[in-house]
C-alpha cells in the first residue's frame, strides 16, 4: 500500500533557482506535492557552474551533485517564459495549480504581467510565495543577496567569531537553507489558510528580513536594556563567556563553563570535541572522568568562569589523548553534554545515529548514477516525507506535463521545440529529449 502524503493533490509552479527557493520546494515535494520546476537552459542558475560533479563525469546541466540533492522530488518543464506563447502556457499552468513560488528579484514577475492581482484573475485562490533578497516592499527591495550578504546585513555574521578578531561568520549560506525553510513554511501556512477559508494570498518572504528575528535576545538586550553587542569579549568564540571581560549573557543559553571545543587525538583538522557543563553535578561527573585531584578553583560555576583558561587547559590535556568519539562516549555515559565536531564524512559515514535514522539514503539519478541523498529530519507517522524522485534532468518532463496536464498533442509539442518555446532552437538536445520527441 502506498503511504498517504501530506500534500497529496497539491500542484506547485516553481520558478525558483539557485538554492533558497529550490531548498523550499524540495521539502514540499518530499511531502507529496507535484512540483513543476520551470527552467530555461540559457539562463539557468543552480545547475551550473557545478563544483559537485563526480570525478569522471562531464560537467553539464544534468551532473551537479548539489543540484541533485537540492532538487529531488521535482519535475522539469523547459519553457521560454519571455515569449508570448511561453507566458500563455505559464498562465494555463497556474490555472491548474495551487501554489506559485519564485525567488527572483522583487519586480520580475510583475514585469512579466504576473503580479499577484494578475494571478488571481487566473486562479482566484492561488497561494503566491515570493522569496526575494529584501522583499517586495521597502526602499531597498531591489537590492540583491547571497546567503553571506543577508547574514552580514542582518546581524548573524557579527555573532560568530573570537573577540578582537574579524567575524568568522558562517561558512556557508545559512540563510539559503533557512530562507528555504521560511519559503516552505509560507507555502504550508498559505495552503492551510486557503483550505480553512477558501482564500489565497501573496506571502512576501525576504532572505535578509528573515535573518533578523534570529537575533532575538541580542535585539531585546538593546531595545530593552540599551546594551549593544559591540562590546568587550563579544562574540566569545565557542565559550559562553570570555574570561576577563564583563560577565554578561551572550545569547546562546546559560553562562557556564566549561563550554568549548577541545582538541582530540590524533589532532587532525576536524579532531575536536565540544563539552558543556550546565551544573556543578555535570562538572563533577566530568572531573571524575578526567581523574586526578579536584581543583578547588573549579568547584563553583563562578570559579570555573573566572579560571576558564586553566579549566580549558586541564580538560584539553585529557581530551587530546582520546579519539573524539571516545570523549563523547565517556562523557555521555556520565551524563555530560559532549559531541564531536563532525565533518561531512563523519556525518555520512561515521555517525551511528544518522545511520540508524536513515538520514542518507541512496537514490538513482539517470545521469549521475546512484548517490546518497539527504532525508527529512522528522518522521510523520501517517504521511511520511520521502524522496521519491531524483532531481529532474533539464526538461525531462516537458512533454509529459504539456500533454498530460495541458492537453497538448505531440505535433504541438514538436512545434514548440521548433519555434523556441520549449528549448532554444540552436542548442543541441540531450539524447533523452530526442527520445521524448520521437
Amino acid at each position: 500500500m502506498t503511504a498517504k502524503r501530506a500534500l497529496e493533490n497539491i500542484r506547485i509552479v516553481d520558478f525558483s533557482w539557485v538554492r533558497a527557493g529550490p531548498w523550499a520546494t524540495r521539502w514540499l515535494g518530499a511531502l507529496g506535492a507535484e512540483v513543476i520546476k520551470i527552467e530555461w537552459p540559457e539562463s539557468e542558475r543552480g545547475r551550473l557552474p557545478s563544483s559537485t560533479t563526480p570525478q569522471g563525469l562531464p560537467v553539464n546541466l544534468n551532473t551537479s551533485g548539489n543540484f541533485n540533492d537540492t532538487n529531488v522530488n521535482k519535475k522539469s518543464l523547459t519553457l521560454n517564459v519571455r515569449s508570448a506563447k511561453g507566458l500563455d502556457i505559464v498562465k494555463r499552468l497556474i490555472a491548474k495549480s495551487d501554489v506559485v513560488i519564485e525567488n527572483f528579484s522583487s519586480r520580475v514577475l510583475r514585469n512579466w504581467g504576473l503580479g499577484y492581482e494578475a494571478m488571481c484573475e487566473i486562479k482566484p485562490d492561488i497561494v503566491y510565495v515570493s522569496m526575494s533578497g529584501y522583499g517586495h516592499t521597502g526602499r531597498n527591495h531591489a537590492y540583491t543577496t547571497f546567503g553571506p550578504v543577508a547574514q552580514a546585513a542582518a546581524g548573524l555574521t557579527f555573532q560568530s567569531g573570537l573577540p578582537n578578531e574579524a567575524p568568522a561568520g558562517w561558512g556557508w549560506s545559512y540563510m539559503d537553507d533557512t530562507g528555504g525553510m521560511y519559503g516552505a513554511m509560507c507555502v504550508l501556512t498559505g495552503l492551510y489558510h486557503r483550505n480553512m477559508t477558501g482564500k489565497g494570498q501573496h506571502i512576501d518572504q525576504s532572505q535578509m528580513v528573515s535573518s533578523a528575528p534570529l537575533n532575538g535576545p541580542a535585539l531585546l538586550d538593546f531595545t530593552v536594556n540599551k546594551r549593544g553587542s559591540r562590546r568587550q569579549g563579544f562574540p566569545p568564540g565557542n565559550r559562553a563567556h570570555w574570561p576577563g571581560t564583563p560577565l554578561l549573557n551572550n545569547y546562546r543559553g546559560p553562562t557556564v563553563a566549561p563550554h568549548n571545543a577541545y582538541r582530540t587525538a590524533p589532532g587532525g583538522y576536524n579532531d575536536w570535541c565540544t563539552i558543556v557543563c550546565h551544573s556543578d553535578t555535570e562538572w563533577q561527573a566530568l572531573e571524575r572522568l578526567i581523574g586526578g585531584t579536584p581543583d578547588p578553583r573549579f568547584a563553583t560555576v563562578a570559579g570555573r568562569l573566572a579560571h576558564q583558561d586553566d579549566l580549558d587547559t586541564m580538560i584539553e590535556a585529557w581530551t587530546s589523548t582520546l579519539d573524539k568519539y571516545e570523549v563523547m562516549t565517556q562523557c555521555q555515559a556520565a551524563g555530560v553534554r559532549a559531541m564531536p565536531v563532525q565533518s561531512a564524512e563523519d556525518r555520512v559515514d561515521n555517525d551511528p545515529q544518522l545511520r540508524h535514522r536513515g538520514m542518507y539514503r541512496p537514490l538513482e539519478h539517470p545521469a549521475l548514477g546512484t548517490f546518497k541523498v539527504q532525508n527529512a529530519p522528522f518522521v510523520l507517522s501517517e504521511t511520511p516525507a520521502v524522496n521519491t524522485l531524483p532531481s529532474p534532468m533539464i526538461g525531462q518532463h516537458t512533454r509529459e506535463i504539456l500533454e498530460g496536464l495541458l492537453g497538448f498533442d505531440a505535433a504541438e509539442v514538436r512545434a514548440g521545440f521548433a519555434d523556441g518555446t520549449f528549448w532554444p532552437p540552436t542548442r543541441p538536445l540531450f539524447p533523452y529529449q530526442e527520445e521524448m520527441l520521437r
Binding site: 546585513a153 568568522a168 561558512g171 492551510y192 565557542n238 551572550n250 545515529q353 529530519p377 510523520l380
Partner: protein, 410 residues
C-alpha cells in the same frame, strides 16, 4: 484580519529546544498555551534580564521566545496534573513536547493514549536526537549540536584550525524550523483528511541538514571542505570577501563568479565615484589573463583600500545601488537604524502591562497580505493564565483551583 492559524489550539510542553517552534506558530495566529512546571520553566533563568535584575518574569531570552503564548503551570508528576492535561489535550489541535524520549508515554500521556480520545490531534516531539537510535538518550546543548551537526566543521578562520560555532542559539532555531514545517504539513493534511498524527523531529538531523553543499561535496566528490574567514567553506583557501571599513566595521564584498572584464569595469565605475579606482580603468584589465595575474592587486590592494576609505554602511548602499551584492557586517543593534526594515513595518511595539510600558521587538520574516503575522501578547508571567484556562475554559471553580495549587498541581 488574523493570522493563518487563528482558531488553532497548541499545547506547548517545551524548554529551550522547542520554545522557538511554539513562537513561530503563535505569531502566525495559533492560541499557544505554554504548560510549565509549577514555579515556571527553566528557560526563565536564562539572561539577559530586564535591567540585569534576575527574575523569572524578567528574562529577555524568555520574553523573545515566548511571544503570543498564554501560560499555565501544571505538575505532570501528579495524577491530578495528568488528568488535567488529558482534558486540555482532548480540546487541542497540536501538542509540542521536548521531554526526553519516552517520558510522556511513561507517565501515561503518550501519543496513542492522547489520540484515543482525540484522533485529530497532532503530537510533535522535538528532541536532541529523535525517539530512536543509539544516541537517543544523549544530552545536548546549542554548542554540542553545532559540533555534531557540522556547523563548526564549516565555520572558522584562515589562520587557525579552531572551529567556531556561530552564536545566537541557532541549533534551536534549526530544530524549530523543521519541527514547525512538519507540524504545518500535518495541519494541511488534517485540514483535508481530519486525521492527526505523530511527528518525531530530531534537532541533530536538522543541524546536519543545514550546511549547504558540505554534504554534496563529500557524497559526490569525497571532498572535506576547509574553514575560511567570514566566507564559504572550500577545498582550498579562496579570495577573501571581508574587508575592514573606515569606521572599524566590516563589509562582505563578494565578487560573484570571480573577477572578469565586465565586473572589473563595474568595480572601476563604483570606485571612481570616490576617486578610488586606481589603475582599474587601464585597458589591460579587459584581458582575463591580466585580471587573473593582478587579482591580488585588485582585491587586496584597490578594493581593500576603497572600502577602508568609507564607512561600511556607505560602501554597502553605494555598491548595492550599482548592482554589487555586498553587505555591511552589522551588529544586531545596527538593525534598528535600517530604513528598509522600518519601511516594512518590521519593528513591533509589544505592551508589557505589568510594567506599564512597551518594548520594541523584531517582527515578521514574511509579509502575509491575507492573514498577517502578529505578536498577540508578550510572554506570559509564571502561571498568568491559570484562572483563565482552568476556571473560565475548563470549568473548574475557584475553590478547586486553590486545592490544586495547595497540592502542588498547578
Amino acid at each position: 484580519m488574523t493570522g493563518p492559524f487563528a482558531g488553532l489550539r497548541v499545547l506547548e510542553l517545551a524548554d529551550e529546544k522547542g520554545q522557538f517552534c511554539g513562537k513561530l506558530l503563535g505569531d502566525l495566529g495559533a492560541d499557544v498555551v505554554k504548560i510549565e512546571p509549577p514555579g515556571g520553566e527553566a528557560c526563565r533563568e536564562v539572561g539577559p534580564f530586564l535591567d540585569d535584575v534576575p527574575h523569572r518574569d524578567r528574562s529577555l531570552s524568555f520574553w523573545y521566545y515566548n511571544t503570543s503564548k498564554r501560560g499555565i503551570t501544571l505538575n505532570l508528576e501528579t495524577a491530578d496534573g495528568r488528568a488535567l492535561f488529558r482534558r486540555l489535550a482532548d480540546e487541542a489541535d497540536v501538542v509540542l513536547e521536548t521531554f526526553r524520549p519516552g517520558y510522556l508515554a511513561g507517565i501515561g500521556l503518550g501519543y496513542e493514549t492522547l489520540r484515543a480520545s482525540n484522533p485529530a490531534l497532532i503530537v510533535c516531539s522535538l528532541t536532541p536526537f529523535g525517539q530512536t537510535g543509539p544516541w537517543r538518550d544523549f544530552v545536548s546543548s546549542d554548542l554540542v549540536h553545532m559540533a555534531a551537526g557540522g556547523e563548526m566543521a564549516s565555520s572558522g578562520y584562515d589562520h587557525t584550525d579552531i572551529p567556531i560555532a556561530p552564536g545566537g542559539g541557532n541549533a534551536w532555531h534549526m530544530g524549530g524550523h523543521y519541527a514547525a514545517m512538519a507540524i504545518m504539513a500535518a495541519l494541511v493534511y488534517r485540514s483535508v483528511s481530519g486525521e492527526g498524527q505523530y511527528i518525531d523531529t530530531s534537532i541533530h538531523e536538522a543541524c546536519a541538514l543545514t550546511t549547504e553543499s558540505a554534504i554534496a561535496n563529500y557524497v559526490y566528490r569525497g571532498e572535506i571542505l576547509r574553514r575560511q574567514t567570514g566566507r564559504h567553506h572550500a577545498m582550498t583557501t579562496t579570495a577573501r570577501t571581508q574587508f575592514l571599513a573606515k569606521d572599524g566595521n566590516y563589509v562582505t564584498a563578494l565578487i560573484s563568479g570571480g573577477l572578469n572584464p565586465r565586473n572589473v569595469k563595474s568595480l572601476a565605475d563604483l570606485m571612481d565615484v570616490y576617486g578610488m579606482a586606481g589603475d582599474l580603468r587601464d585597458p589591460k584589465y579587459q584581458d582575463p589573463a591580466t585580471i587573473a595575474a593582478e587579482s591580488s592587486h585588485i582585491i587586496d590592494g584597490l578594493l581593500a583600500d576603497f572600502i577602508a576609505s568609507l564607512p561600511a554602511e556607505e560602501v554597502y548602499h553605494a555598491a548595492q545601488a550599482r548592482g554589487f551584492t555586498w553587505g555591511a557586517v552589522r551588529a544586531p543593534e545596527d538593525l534598528l537604524d535600517d530604513a528598509h526594515l522600518h519601511d516594512r513595518g518590521f519593528w513591533k511595539e509589544v505592551e508589557h502591562p505589568e510594567l506599564g510600558c512597551s518594548f520594541v521587538y523584531p517582527g515578521e520574516p514574511a509579509l502575509y497580505n491575507g492573514s498577517p503575522w502578529a505578536i498577540s501578547r508578550r510572554a506570559p508571567l509564571v502561571g498568568e493564565h491559570n484562572r483563565e484556562i482552568y476556571c473560565d475554559e475548563l470549568g473548574l471553580d475557584a475553590g478547586e483551583l486553590v486545592i490544586l495549587a495547595e497540592n502542588g498541581v498547578v
